[in-house]
Amino acid sequence: GILSQGGNTSPVPLPPPQSSCWRRKRAEMITFNLDDGFTEAVVRGYRSGILSQGDYSNLGQCDGLEDMRMHLAVTDYGNFLQNEPSPLQTMTISEKCTEKLVEEFNYIRCNASAELAKFLDYITYGYMIDNVILLLTGTLHERDTSELLEKCHPLGKFQSLATLAITTSPKDAYKLVLVDTPLAVYAQKCFTESQDFTELNIEVIRNTLYKAYLEDFYAYTQKLGGATADVMGEILRFEADRRAINITINSLDTELTKEGRGELYCNFGDLYPEGVMRLERADTQDAVRQAVESFGQYRELFQEDQFNRDKSLEDWFFEYEVKLNKLAFEQQFQYGVFYAYMKLKEQEVRNIVWIAECISQDQKSRINQYIPIF
C-alpha cells in the first residue's frame, strides 16, 4: 500500500516527512493566521459551548432522561435528540453526543490547512488503535462483526477495518489490513509473530501500538516547535506518565513480566527515565507510590487516594488532564487548542453519561462525581 514503510528496521517509528515548520519556530504570531486563523477561531467558538457548572447543576436536577433531553436542547447541543424515540436510553445520549463531536471535528478537518490536517490526523490514530483492538478482542470472543463495527469510534474508522475480523494471527492482520493504514509504522514491531491472538497477546499489542503512537506524536509536536511544542509537550508527557502508572498498577500480580512491562513504557515523559526504571521494578502498590513520590505533580496521587475513597486514581488522572487541557486555551497561535478541545469534549460526554446513568438508576447521591470542566 502507499502508506506502508516495510523497509524500516529502526526501533522507533520514522518521523513524519519534513514540513515547513521553520517559520513556526520563529514567527508564529505573525504567520499563524495565514493558514489556521479561521480554524482556530472556530474551535474557540466550539469551546465556548462546553457545558458550564450551571448546565451541569440543571442536568443534575432532572427527574428523568426526558428532562435531560429538554435541558440539553438549550445548550449548544440543541435539538440533537429530537428524533429519538421516547423511552430514551443513556446509550443513545452517548452516541448522539459523540456524533456531534465527530461532526465538529470533521468540519474543522475539512477547513484545515495541510499542516493542521496532519496534526488532526494524528489525533485520529489513537481512535484507530482503539477500534483495531476492539475488533480483534470481539472476534476472539466470537461476537458478530457488524455489532462490533457499530461500536467502533467513528473518527477511527478506516476502509479495511472489517477485514480484521477474519484474521487470526498478528502477522495476518498486519499483511492484510494494517499495512495500508497509517498505523503500519506503529504495527511493524509488534505484529510479527504468527501465533494466534490471545487475551494477553491483544493487551500487549494494544499497549505497544499506543506507545509507538504516543512517541511518534510527541516527536512530531516537538518538531513543530514554538507554542505548539510547549503546550502539546506538556499534555503528552502527562499522557505517557499516566499510562506508565496505569500499566504498572494493572500488571502487579499478573503474568506480565517486569521486562515485558518495561517494554510498554514510553521513552519520554516526566517520569522518564528514573521514575520509569523504578516503576519497572515495583512489586507492590507501595513501591509504585515511592517511585512517583519525588515528582511534584504526582505526589498527592496516592495520598489522596487513601483518605478519600470516593475519588479513584482514574478520576484524579481525568481531573489533571482537564486542567492541562484548559490551560492549552490560554495561548493563541498554536495547535494545542484542537487536541485540548477534543479531549475536553470527550470528558463532557463522559460527564453527561454519568449523570444520565445516575438518574436512570436512581443514585442521585453520586451524581456530583463528574469532573467539572469550566
Binding site: 493566521n33 486563523g37 482556530e40 477561531a41 474557540r44 465556548s48
Partner: protein, 214 residues
C-alpha cells in the same frame, strides 16, 4: 570618461570613499524609491494586519455573531495605516520637481568639470571647500535624501504598526466572542498600537517639509 562626469560630485575630500557610491545614485531615483517604499511597505503592513484580524474574526463570528460589527474597528485601524502611507506618498510626490531642474543645478563651480578634477585628482579642486555648498548638493541631493528617508521612515513604522494592530485585533475578536466586556479593554491596546504609525507619519512630515526639488 565623458562630460557625464560632471555629475560625479564627491562631498568628502577624496574620491576614494564609499560615499561616492551613494552620491552616484541619481537623486530622482532616490526620491522616487522613497515614495514607493512609503506606500508599498505601509500597504504590506496594513494587509498583514487585516488578514491576521480578519481570519480570526470570520471564524469567531460563527458562534458569536454579535461581534461582527464591533470588531470591524480593528480592521479599520489597520486600514488607517495604509491611508497614512498614501497621504505621505502624495505629499512627497508633490515635492518632486521636473528634470529641467537637473541642468540648472549641475553647473560647474570649478567643482565638477573634467579639467578641474583631472588637475586635482585624487583630491577635490580647491580642497573641497566650494563643493559642499554647490547647487547640486543644496537643490538636488538634500531633497532626494529627505524624501527617500521620509518614505522609509513612514513605510516601516506603518509596517510594524499594521502587524501589531492585526495580532491584537485577532486576540480582541476571540476574547470578545468569549466575554463581551473584554472588547473595550483590548481596543485600548489597539489604539496604542496604531499610534505607532502616527509617530512615523509625524517624523516623516517633519523630515520632508524643507525638501523640494525645484
Amino acid at each position: 570618461m565623458t562630460t557625464q562626469m560632471s555629475y560625479m560630485l564627491p562631498s568628502a575630500g577624496y574620491f576614494d570613499n564609499w560615499l561616492i557610491l551613494f552620491e552616484q545614485i541619481s537623486p530622482y531615483a532616490l526620491a522616487d524609491i522613497g515614495i514607493g517604499i512609503s506606500i508599498g511597505v505601509s500597504v504590506l503592513g496594513a494587509a498583514w494586519g487585516i488578514f491576521t484580524t480578519g481570519s480570526s474574526l470570520v471564524g469567531a463570528a460563527i458562534k458569536a455573531p454579535r461581534i461582527r460589527s464591533k470588531n470591524l474597528i480593528s480592521v479599520i485601524f489597520c486600514e488607517a495605516v495604509a491611508i497614512y502611507g498614501v497621504i505621505i506618498a502624495i505629499i512627497l510626490s508633490t515635492k518632486m520637481g521636473t528634470p529641467e531642474a537637473y541642468a540648472v543645478n549641475t553647473d560647474t563651480e570649478g567643482c565638477n568639470t573634467m579639467a578641474a578634477l583631472r588637475s586635482s585628482w585624487p583630491q577635490l579642486p580647491g580642497g573641497g571647500a566650494s563643493c559642499q555648498g554647490s547647487l547640486y548638493m543644496k537643490n538636488l541631493l538634500f531633497p532626494a535624501y529627505a524624501i527617500f528617508n521620509a518614505g522609509v521612515c513612514v513605510g516601516f513604522s506603518n509596517l510594524f504598526c499594521g502587524v501589531c494592530v492585526g495580532i491584537t485585533g485577532s486576540g480582541c475578536a476571540l476574547a470578545d466572542a468569549q466575554n463581551g466586556t473584554l472588547f473595550v479593554k483590548i481596543l485600548i491596546i489597539e489604539i496604542f498600537g496604531s499610534a505607532l504609525g502616527l509617530f512615523g507619519v509625524i517624523v516623516g512630515i517633519i523630515m520632508s517639509s524643507p525638501a523640494y526639488i525645484k
